[in-house]
Subunit: 268 residues, 2 copies
DNA sequence: GAGTGGTCTAGACCACGAA
DNA sequence: TCGTGGTCTAGACCACTCG
């Protein structure tokens, strides 16, 4: 993986002053459900820090000892909460250095589904925007994104290729309220990865997603774009992506060449 | 804050003297890698209890307090080890009752992949054995199962259906050394589920598995059995199943009707 | 009421990374 | 050398299940 796996350099390790931090942290804890165990409430409070961007991707969160003081909990309890967030993939602990906010870069999740013939390591596939428009979304999409009845959405068509050989075409819907900046961004400035653009231009961090897979046969536009004969098998991936606060951010439907599909699962 | 008695000079490193009532448990701990953290060694020791069938599926394991005494560790450390095994799906904790060895029943994993039209709840699909033979396995299978060069294997062909409509056909390979009893079991006594038979007749418990998915087009025998036109898309699932000790037990390749395939993934 | 796992504390010492 | 997270202890009290 050649992209975005960099860790925060020690120079970027920014620490907040406890004085400025303390009032918010206590509010954050007070805002959680008091019937829950303390470690769950701490977890919720930490997620709130992530959602509010007080803790930012790539940066270190306060040390465990500091969190103990700030939230008035014992170190074992604080560690329990952090451990859960690390299991969720939101935080990353590094012995001797600290605990960091993970930069979620699972655009590379395509590697889970599609092999590409390039010898050696994984590269990010090319991503070319074919079209952009602003319009009312289909009801399925609008409901999934929990959009207001008459709210418009940005819709992108995108073709992904390895070495200029297309293997996946995507249809992407984004609520205009959150992503207005993307409606004006020159198409040339969309790179190969979308989620960093969401972060940079719209302050929206994708923290998790749910995908649904099925198999269909290629027709019409999809067959044309993927250069497939009508009837050839394609894999359909529908994805709903969420922010730290679990609110839906993006709806996406992708069609990929089934011949290049593969997936590994561990069952326990 | 508690009202406990405080010692002026703690710093006790006193190891509990091994109780006379637990000889095997201490052996089990001694057999683990002493360079590992204690909670990892405990986990390995507990897995050994599972593999040796001293702890059996469905039964309760000793209480946390008993394990503390038996292994000379603190309750937090014992809990840590148990927690890991619960996350792995090997144990199941029930508040107020105890911790139990899970009966791995992920034959139902098919429900992850194939929808069936039956209204309401999930039922186990029918499984009919079409053939059984004993022969040398293909090298790919033999190597996956880590079999000796000239060792023979039992091979089963099996057709799975809902309401007598087939949707999946399977080719299953088992090393004869472990599964000799299955070569003699009357075909009528194979039920709809295989793994319980492995357990009952051969003392082999499937604890985990790795699956590889891809998409192909139906040909020959597969097309016939699934009643598909040649060229229709099928999903290919290759599974390698493992025991508690991670040794491979079963190799399986399944072909399923792609139209009925679906799969949900959560990404983080 | 006895026993279980669930939660929580308030420390200790350690290995490791960075300066 | 100092600060970090990793490991571990030796308890406490709680909610829950079961007989």
């Amino acid at each position: 993986m050649s992209t975005t796996t960099r860790k925060a350099s020690p120079a970027r390790r920014t620490r907040r002053t406890p004085a400025a931090d303390a009032p918010q942290t206590l509010d954050a804890l007070a805002a959680t459900d008091p019937r829950l165990p303390l470690y769950q409430r701490l977890k919720d409070a930490f997620v709130a820090q992530l959602a509010s961007r007080r803790w930012r991707p790539g940066e270190a969160i306060p040390t465990e000892a500091e969190l103990c003081r700030a939230y008035g909990a014992s170190i074992g309890t604080v560690r329990h909460a952090i451990e859960l967030l690390a299991l969720d993939g939101l935080l990353e602990k590094t012995p001797g250095r600290g605990t960091f906010v993970r930069t979620p870069s699972f655009e590379g999740s395509l590697f889970r589904f599609f092999r590409h013939r390039a010898g050696g390591e994984d590269r990010v596939p090319q991503g070319r925007i074919l079209s952009r428009a602003v319009r009312l979304p289909p009801s399925e999409v609008g409901e999934s994104l929990r959009m207001a009845p008459r709210e418009r959405a940005i819709v992108l068509e995108r073709l992904r290729s390895f070495d200029d050989v297309p293997f996946l075409c995507e249809e992407i819907w984004l609520p205009q309220s959150r992503f207005a900046a993307l409606a004006r961004l020159p198409l040339a400035e969309f790179g190969n990865l979308l989620y960093p653009q969401y972060e940079r231009h719209c302050g929206q961090t994708v923290a998790s997603a749910r995908e649904h897979l099925s198999v269909a046969q290629a027709r019409g536009v999809v067959a044309d774009r993927l250069r497939l004969a009508p009837g050839a098998p394609v894999v359909v991936i529908e994805r709903l992506a969420f922010g730290y606060d679990r609110s839906p951010l993006e709806w996406r439907r992708s069609h990929g060449i089934a011949e290049r599909f593969r997936y590994d699962v561990d069952i326990r």
